[in-house]
Structure formats: C-alpha cells, structure tokens
Amino acid sequence: MERKLETYLQDRPDIPDEVIERLLREARPMLTSALDRLRRPLIQVAICDSPLGQLFAAKSAQGLVALRFMESDPVENTMQTLRQRFDVIEDEQLADEITGDIESLMRGDPAAVEARAVDLSLVESAFQRRALMRLRRVPAGSVISYQALAAALGKPTAQRAIGNTVASNPVPIYVPCHRVIRSDGSLGNYGGGPERKLQLLRAEGFLVDRTRRLPRDAVYGHLGSRIFCRPTCNAVRRAERRTWLIFADAQRAARFGMRACRLCHPA
C-alpha cells in the first residue's frame, strides 16, 4: 500500500486533462463576463533615461497619467497608487517615446511635449484639473505667477490653491508646472528640485541666471489687452501684477500673438 500510494500520488494525476478542459470551457464564459464588469483601465509604465535624469512614466489610452523624477520620488509609492486604479503593464516603447519628447524639449523644441495628450484622472478636483489644463496653454519660453494663473481661472485670490495644485501636478514637464513662478520674480520651488526648474526654463529660452531672477530682456504680456511691455513700463506698474504672463523676450510675446506697447517700445 505504501509504495503504491506514493507512486500513485506522484505519477498519476487522477483527474484526466479532458475533465479539467471541459470544466474550464464551462467556467470561462461566466468568468469573462463577470470580470468585464470589474475591469480597470489599462496603463503602460516605463522608466525613461531622460536628459533630466531617470523618470517614471505611466500612460493610459487617453494620455500620460503620471511622470515622476525618480531620485526625488520613490517609484514604489506611485506604483501602489496606480495599481489600485489601473491594470499596469510594462512597456519599453513608452520609455523611448518620453525620452525622445524630453530630449527635443531640452534642445529647444517643445512641440512633441505640447502635442502629447495628458490624462488627469489622478487629479481629484475639477478646479485642479481646470488649472492644470489652463497651465498647459502657457507657452514654452514664458512664465506665469501663481497669482496670474489663479486670476486666469477667474479666482484671483486662489493663489494658494494654485500652489497646491501645481505642487501635486501628476504630469510635470508635460503640464508645465516649471513655468509657474512667484509674483516677486523669484523662481520658487520645484518637485524635481529647483535646479531642474532652472534647467528646464533655460532650455526653453527663458534665460534665468543663478540668482534666479527674471532674465534681463523679459517682457510682460498683459493677458487682457494682449499688449506686452518692458518691466519698467508705467503700464506694468499701474496694472495689477496678477494679469501678466512673463515672456523671455519680445519675439516670444509677439509669436504668442501679443503686440508691443506703444509707450515703452519693447524690442
């Protein structure tokens, strides 16, 4: 008996494969339809070796969901959040795409970054989503203050909320939170470190120096009238600070569709 049992257990699975197959055929349709009701959206993730260091990227069918500077943000946490809400798979190709986008951005061509869709489903509130989408329209080579962004959303006193929103931006670089600065002209902080903010702004032609003050030929573009002025222009001093977008130079302001001030003749 002993010998028999041992060999029996090891060598002869007692349930024939056909039985299992038959059961599976029966179980599958039921399981599939039940699973379909539970399905989470799919996202691809990758680690990209970009000119800005290693980045963790996640992309859904709608667009880029998350981007993280890996040295300042442990991937495990992000991954955990993502996996609660999405089915996650790895995708090498995404790494190449993102790296390509950022390489061309650092060479001064923001087109690829601007063209890529972002998916803000990690952002909880509608106001925050609106703020981030508005921020996407701030062109490369310009900056905006927290206050100005709040004003552009029709909430001129919401600069704190904007600060929080920008700080928790799930898709930095693509939603250009590095283009948001303080109203006094200093650069403020950045998720990937202030050095990176400087690096990004300089790559976009916004030539900030080490003291992190605005560049010398910066011009102020008025969002309402679409006129741009020198920082010293009376119009700038008179108008409220919050309504200005600051461009690296006059050409960029003109390219954005603004006209030069007739009082101070910038450029």
Partner: protein, 163 residues
C-alpha cells in the same frame, strides 16, 4: 541604480489566468471534490484575484498567492456546506445531489481519503504531491512556515498510508 530597472510586476492578469487556470481548477476540483462547487469556487477565486491584483507585489508571489485564495475559498465552501448540511439534511436527501464527476475507482478512493484530512494537511498534500508546488510556495499559500507545510504534507501522507 540599474538603468534598465524593472518593476518585478506580476504578469498582466489575463496572462496569469491563462497560465494558471488549469492547475487552479485541478486543485479546486480536488479539494472540493464536486463539480458545481469547483465551478463556483473557481470563478470566485479569479474574481477575488482580480480585485486584489494591485496588492500582489511580485511576479514570484503570483502562484502561491493564487493557491492561497483558492485554498481559503475551498475552506469557506466546506464550512458552508457543513452548516447547510446540518440545517437542511432532509431536503438534500430527497433533492438533487450535485453531480459528481466520473472518476475511475482509484481516484474515488483517493478523493474520499483526501476529504477526511484536516483542511491544512489536505491542501498542503494536494499542492505538493498533485500540484507540484515548492514547500516555500505552499507556505506562502497557506500562510504558515515552510516547516509547517512540510509537516502538513508528512502528516497527511502518514494518515493516507494508515488507511
């Protein structure tokens, strides 16, 4: 850090399903010994696995994790059965009895013997001898130490041999 750092993610769920559905079904069928129960537990196992898939944090952990879910559900089922059997014994007696899959005699013998084993020993034995899992994997699946898994299989074998 390795520039091509990998996440050690478990495979996409559908792939996991494709790879393991057979052995899970076999395991469940063996543990429940009943076709209808097996179908239900199988479905429940994969639905639960899907819901909790985000919490599984490594690729190696997948197999024992699936077995663990299946094993716990089998135990629940057994408990429910016992409870129901006590309450509605007479209804079951003249009602329809769940169709038992046709197995050859040896298998029926084994099935009856397996059913008499305590849950943990039974599961350990099935996983080890019929499912081919490592003791390490069984330990994870049953939530016990590797030694306990080993002991479980040993005790189960001893009991079976005694019969």
């Amino acid at each position: 850090m390795d520039p091509k750092a990998k996440f050690n993610l478990p495979p996409p769920f559908d792939e996991a399903l494709r790879c393991h559905e057979r052995e899970i079904m076999r395991f469940i069928l063996r543990a429940t010994g009943d076709r209808e129960d097996a179908l239900e537990v199988f479905q429940e196992t994969w639905l639960r696995a899907y819901r909790a898939y985000g919490e599984l944090d490594s690729a190696e952990g997948l197999r024992p994790w699936l077995f663990r879910i299946a094993s716990n559900l089998c135990l629940n089922r057994k408990r429910d059965r016992a409870r129901r059997a006590r309450r509605v014994a007479d209804i079951e007696a003249n009602g329809e009895v769940a169709a038992v899959i046709p197995l050859h005699e040896q298998a029926l013998d084994l099935k009856a013997m397996l059913r008499r084993l305590p849950h943990k020993q039974q599961q350990a034995l099935i996983m080890r001898k019929l499912g081919g899992l490592e003791y390490r994997e069984i330990a994870t699946a049953l939530g016990c130490s590797e030694e306990a898994a080993r002991a479980g299989v040993y005790l189960a074998m001893k009991k079976l041999k005694a019969e």
